[in-house]
């Protein structure tokens, strides 16, 4: 008797589950209320050619000149032209670390920015103007004069500025290339930097993801 009750209960639960699963799946298959806009009056052949045209337009956005692609997760930089990779380099991108200034209540997040940028400035033998975070991080007092912020040799032989204080530059810490260790800039080895500097102009696109 008890076993029968248990069987009936199990069957009822199972049936209820199947009913709910079936109904949920069936209702889920209903198409959403279509509000056909621009496409409603167009013929199938016109739609096909329009779609082909849109695909082609999106594809044709790739520059035919040199451009830079940076994979900030893999720490790789690619110098490309069209679909071809011209040069590949191991780099260092942002560490993702957070620094808080206890006095001014300012917070810095050391990420390499993602998106599309352009080379805005090109520098030979760049001098680093150390920002506030560089002093705070080292527990030093922030200098009052601009001269106190200047540091030579830190950025390598060349630097490519891509806005908001971010640069593609050289490094003294070549053993850390391939790791996420920077404050947001992209560090490149000497030889790779030389190639990049020669291939790019002001306006060269940089894609970072």
């Amino acid at each position: 008797m008890f076993r029968d009750k248990k069987t009936i209960l199990a069957s009822a639960v199972f049936s209820l589950f199947l009913l709910m699963w079936g109904t949920g799946f069936y209702i889920g298959m209903w198409p959403p209320i279509e509000t056909e806009g621009k496409g409603s009056a167009r013929s199938v052949s016109r739609l096909k050619s329009e779609n082909q045209y849109l695909k082609q337009r999106i594809k044709s956005m790739a520059p035919n000149v040199f451009y830079i692609v940076i994979d900030s997760g893999k720490n790789r930089l690619f110098l490309k032209k069209g679909d071809r990779v011209i040069h590949e380099a191991v780099v260092s991108c942002g560490s993702g670390a957070v620094l808080r200034d206890p006095d001014k209540k300012t917070t810095w997040i050391f990420d390499t920015p993602r998106g599309v940028f352009t080379v805005q400035t090109k520098h030979v033998a760049p001098v680093w103007t150390k920002p506030d975070w560089a002093f705070i991080e080292e527990g030093e007092k922030i200098p009052v004069t601009a001269q106190g912020r200047m540091e030579t040799g830190m950025l390598g032989d060349y630097a490519l500025g891509f806005g908001s204080g971010y640069y593609i530059h050289g490094t003294l810490y070549t053993r850390l290339l391939g790791r996420n260790v920077t404050h947001g800039c992209v560090r490149v080895g000497d030889e790779d930097l030389k190639t990049l500097f020669a291939a790019t102009d002001i306006g060269t696109r940089i894609y970072i993801f």
Binding site: G28, G73, D101, N180, Y207
Partner: protein
């Protein structure tokens, strides 16, 4: 004769031909999504494209494919994905990667420092992308023993939770779409890394 009829019926059920109406509707949908992608490609931001039919994911910017990942399997629940660009509201994971905090003065004695940074290896491989319009994309690694165990648990969830949720939203007349995508572990981590909150995506249907 009877066998022939049965074979014909089963063929029609299993492999239904695409009707003119369905073909047109899918072209209209594709057209709408391509227009959405075209407007995304004009902006300088990254966006993600899920091609469910071709089983691949692309990270794109300005129309250029920056990275591509193959999808190993696709499961689908609920309504069709809306014909519009969807923004990533949040990434939900059991263990979220946390940023390291640098204390002022920490870098002073940097000669023998240990690297304490946030890298792609710290990203989860199993997570859910919560998009607007109640679209949920669950990413699962498709290889490894632990992945198989995790996927078995997820499958149980699919058959217990998903029907109830689908039913609940359907009764309330609200949009609900859930997609389960199987990716390679490293690709899943890379997608988590690159697809940031606020970024948009396009989902081309199966």
């Amino acid at each position: 004769m009877l066998i022939k009829i049965l074979l014909l019926i089963s063929t029609l059920i299993l492999f239904p031909s695409q009707t003119f109406g369905e073909n047109r509707a899918s072209l209209v949908k594709e057209n709408q999504l391509l227009r959405e992608e075209w407007s995304l490609a004009k902006k300088p931001n990254l966006y993600v494209v899920f091609h469910l039919k071709e089983k691949r994911i692309q990270i794109k910017a300005k129309g250029i494919s920056l990275r591509e990942f193959p999808i190993h399997h696709v499961d689908f629940w609920g309504n069709n994905v809306p014909d519009q660009a969807l923004a990533l509201v949040k990434k939900s994971a059991l263990v979220k990667p946390s940023r390291k905090t640098v204390r002022p003065g920490d870098m002073k004695e940097s000669e023998d420092f240990t690297l304490d940074v946030l890298e792609i290896g710290d990203m989860p491989a199993r997570y859910t992308l919560v998009l607007d319009n109640r679209v949920f994309i669950s990413i699962r690694p498709s290889e490894g023993v632990t992945s198989k165990f995790g996927n078995t648990l997820s499958s149980l969830e699919d058959f217990l939770v998903r029907p109830a949720v689908t039913f609940w939203y359907a009764v309330r007349g609200k949009q609900y779409t859930a997609l389960d995508l199987g990716l390679e572990k490293q690709d899943a981590k890379a997608l988590y890394w690159s697809f940031t909150e606020g970024a948009k995506c396009i989902v081309y249907p199966q």
